[in-house]
Structures are given as structure tokens and as C-alpha cells.
């Protein structure tokens, strides 16, 4: 099995690697860069703990080959806060007690940012009504539950996660206005 040289832009920093072709993005982040914020839960795309943003889209990093992403922009939970200020979604998770053990939280937060962006871009979900005006999809509780359904929380903090995402969506929306 061969190796490939690859350059990824991770949290706005260019990183060059020489990786075994089979290395997942998750292992590249954790084992090669020491960015252990992104968690390995199930390693086959069921739990969402490894969610990161790839070119702005949330994806499971355990299911991505790092060498196939040459040149991509990756944002992990470590890259969300600027200076001392937390990202609005991070702040909302703290304000609403939206975790207990915290293992799923980095994935939940990256996924929530993706969900908020997707809804603001007007992407429908499985629970969005077929007939609706064009434009952003309002993030109601059922919409948030559907859109966050790829992130499992074994502590069962779902109720507070929905509250946190609701508040964060409003905060992000106001900041954009």
C-alpha cells in the first residue's frame, strides 16, 4: 500500500503530511497533528463524534480518506473560537448545559454549525414541508432534531442540545444581519 504527500489547510494553517493512503482524516488529525478535540466514537459513521467541517460542509472524518482531500479546508473544534471569545454555538452549549461527559460535544458543535448554515441556505430536511416559500428554513425543534440526528449522545443530553442549538441559531442569525 502506497503513501501519498498531501497538504491540508487545517484551522487556517497549511499542514503538509506524508500519509499511508488508508489514513482517515480523523486519524490524520488525532495521530499525526495531535488535534485530539475531534473524537473517535464508532469509526464507521454511526455516531457523529468525529464530525468536522470540510470546505464548510459537516462530514464524518472517520469516513474520509485524508489523501483524497488534498487542498481542502478543514475546521475542527479547536479552530472555532477566535482569540478569547468562544463561538456562539460553543457558548450556547455551556449556557444550556448541553452535555454531561462531553465526549460527543466537539462533534455536536461542528454538526450544529453545519446545520445552522444549511438551514440558513434554505436546504430542506426530511421534515421540512414540501410546499414552503423559498429562503431560509426556520430551525424549529423538530427541524433541529432531524438535522442533528447524525450525532448520538449516550448521556442523553438531547433536550438541552436542542435548546442550545435553538439559541445559537438565533445568535448566528443576528450576527449575520
Amino acid at each position: 500500500m502506497g503513501r501519498t504527500a498531501v497538504t491540508l489547510e487545517i484551522n487556517a494553517q497549511s499542514c503538509a503530511f506524508d500519509l499511508d493512503n488508508r489514513t482517515t482524516l480523523l486519524d490524520a488529525l488525532r495521530e499525526h497533528l495531535g488535534l485530539t478535540g475531534t473524537k473517535k466514537g464508532c469509526d464507521h459513521g454511526q455516531c457523529g463524534a468525529c464530525t468536522v467541517l470540510v470546505d464548510g460542509m459537516r462530514m464524518n472524518s472517520c469516513l474520509l480518506l485524508a489523501v483524497a482531500l488534498d487542498g481542502a479546508q478543514i475546521i475542527t473544534v479547536e479552530g472555532l473560537s477566535s482569540d478569547a471569545a468562544l463561538h456562539p454555538v460553543q457558548q450556547a452549549f455551556i449556557d444550556h448545559d448541553a452535555f454531561q461527559c462531553g465526549y460527543c460535544t466537539p462533534g455536536q458543535i461542528c454538526s450544529a454549525i453545519g446545520a445552522i448554515t444549511e438551514a440558513a441556505s434554505g436546504w430542506p430536511s426530511a421534515v421540512t414541508p414540501q410546499e414552503r416559500p423559498l429562503g431560509p428554513v426556520p430551525l424549529t425543534a423538530p427541524e433541529i432534531r432531524e438535522r442533528m440526528s447524525g450525532n448520538l449522545c449516550r448521556c442523553g443530553a438531547y433536550v438541552n442540545i436542542v435548546n442550545a442549538v435553538t439559541e445559537a441559531a438565533e445568535a448566528v442569525g443576528e450576527a449575520a444581519r
Partner: protein, 279 residues
């Protein structure tokens, strides 16, 4: 690992290394790689081939690129073209999977639970395969059944699906709330030009099943030039007819309880799919 930027380059790379595995979204492939079941000798990444990431129109059909993601197919502009495929794409797993997983991957993986497969069966869609000796076009079912498999160096490039300009539905039953694997799914499309209802049942067999007799029976009942409405009893009978043809009674003895339950699920999904398409 090679990352071709055009279909021709990808076919050339595959032809040069027939043992190489093409990878698009990787959502099915990578779980096998991570658990050590698959150690590909080489990989051809398809993510850079922009010509197969969108769609184009060709003689009343849509030519869909194999690397269209589920997320892209779920969006409103695509839903206006092929509503059932958009509904299947929105239900095809959690958002992280839909952002990466592709239409071509769903076909090539040919999982019995693949959500796009019953829709493509109901649409009678075809796949365009690009190979070292040019392209050929075969029905989706011939590929997924292994009746006419991919040849060495061949790549699934496009899916040709008709634009029917009529209501379509896709419904699935899962074992949990939210997007899980289907225990049964039903795709149903109306084809007013051919005065037909076409239906496919997914996940109950290794590949989608078409209840052809039930389709013909219900197509004959519908007033295609009028309101297209049917009595509720007719929709119920269609559901039972479709379910019975996919999960028939055994030659001897009783149907096992689990299968009887699955048959009721299929009947309810097929009835609802027809009601929604005709309402």
C-alpha cells in the same frame, strides 16, 4: 492514490490499475476499510471530477452525474425535477453522510437498503458506464443484480432518469426515529404520458421489487384525463396487492410472523404512497 480531474483520466487510471478501487463519498467503503475487511491495493478518488458532480438535460431526461451527493439531490431545485429521488436523498442517512455520500456510490454499493435504488427502479432509470472502449448504457437493475457487472476499468459515470412532470412519492419505514436503514421502502411515480403507475419496493429483498400486476391493475382504474382520484378502498387494495406480490404466502404452512408484519408495513407504505401521489 490518484485524483483525476476528468472522466477520461479516471477511466485511464482504472484501466492502468484494474485492482484499484474507485472512491467517491466513501461512506460505505470506509467502514470496510476501517474495520480491516478491505485493504485496497490502490485508490482512484472521484471527488475532483466536476463533470459528474451536477446534472444536465437530454431529450426529456435528466443525465445525473454519479458524484451528485445526497445533500445536493435533496435541495429544492432538484426536488422540482425528480421529487421521489429528492425525498429518498433527504432520508438516506444523517446529514454528515448525505454531505459526502453519492448517487453513484449508492448504486455501486447495491446494498438492499439503498434508498435511491427503489426510486431508480420505479423511474426505469439507466446507468451510463464509461470504460476504456467507450460508453455503454444498461438498466440500473442489470448492474445491481450482477446480471451485467462493471467490466475492468469501467466506471459508473451518469444515471439517466426520465423527467415525468407528475407527482412522485418515496416512503420508508425504519427501526428508529430519524434516518436509519430502511426495513421497507416504497417509491411510486405517475407517468401520465404512458398512463402508468410505477412502483418499487426496497429493502425487503436483495434488490428492489416491482409489483407489475398491481401497477397494471391500478393504472387501469385511474381516470388519467380527469381528476386521477381513487376511492380509499382501491388504494388499500393496491397496497395489499403490491405487498402480497413482494412477500407471497409460502407454498406450505403459514407465513412467519416477522414476514407477516413486514408485509403489513409494505402494504401501508404502498397505500400511502399511492394516496399521496393522487391527492
Amino acid at each position: 492514490m490518484t485524483l483525476p480531474t476528468s472522466l477520461d483520466e479516471a477511466v485511464a487510471a482504472l484501466a492502468a490499475m484494474p485492482a484499484a478501487v474507485p472512491v467517491a463519498g466513501g461512506t460505505d467503503l470506509m467502514s470496510a476499510v476501517n474495520s480491516g475487511l478491505l485493504r485496497p491495493a490502490a485508490l482512484v478518488g472521484l471527488g475532483r471530477i466536476s463533470e459528474i458532480r451536477g446534472w444536465q438535460y437530454a431529450d426529456g431526461n435528466a443525465l445525473l452525474g454519479a458524484c451528485l451527493t445526497h445533500a445536493r439531490m435533496g435541495r429544492s431545485d432538484f426536488a422540482a425535477l425528480i421529487p421521489a429521488l429528492a425525498m429518498a436523498a433527504r432520508a438516506a442517512g444523517p446529514p454528515q453522510i448525505r454531505n459526502a455520500g453519492t448517487l453513484g456510490g449508492n448504486i455501486a454499493n447495491a446494498a438492499p437498503t439503498g434508498d435511491a435504488l427503489p426510486v431508480l427502479a420505479a423511474l426505469e432509470a439507466t446507468v451510463v458506464l464509461a470504460g476504456p472502449d467507450g460508453t455503454r448504457e444498461i438498466p440500473v437493475g442489470h448492474l445491481t443484480a450482477g446480471h451485467d457487472p462493471l467490466r475492468p476499468g469501467e466506471l459508473l459515470a451518469y444515471v439517466r432518469a426520465p423527467l415525468l412532470h407528475a407527482p412522485q412519492t418515496f416512503l420508508k419505514a425504519t427501526t428508529r426515529t430519524g434516518p436509519g436503514r430502511a426495513t421497507a421502502s416504497v417509491a411510486l411515480v405517475l407517468d401520465p404520458a404512458r398512463r402508468g403507475v410505477r412502483c418499487a419496493i426496497g429493502a425487503v429483498a436483495p434488490m428492489p421489487l416491482r409489483p407489475l400486476e398491481a401497477e397494471r391493475w391500478v393504472s387501469g382504474l385511474i381516470d388519467w384525463d380527469g381528476s386521477r382520484a381513487l376511492e380509499p378502498e382501491a388504494c388499500t387494495a393496491f397496497g395489499d396487492y403490491a405487498a402480497m406480490s413482494c412477500i407471497p404466502d409460502p407454498a406450505e404452512g403459514e407465513l412467519p410472523l416477522a414476514l407477516a408484519h413486514l408485509r403489513r408495513t409494505v402494504a401501508a407504505l404502498a397505500r400511502r404512497a399511492l394516496e399521496r401521489a393522487l391527492s
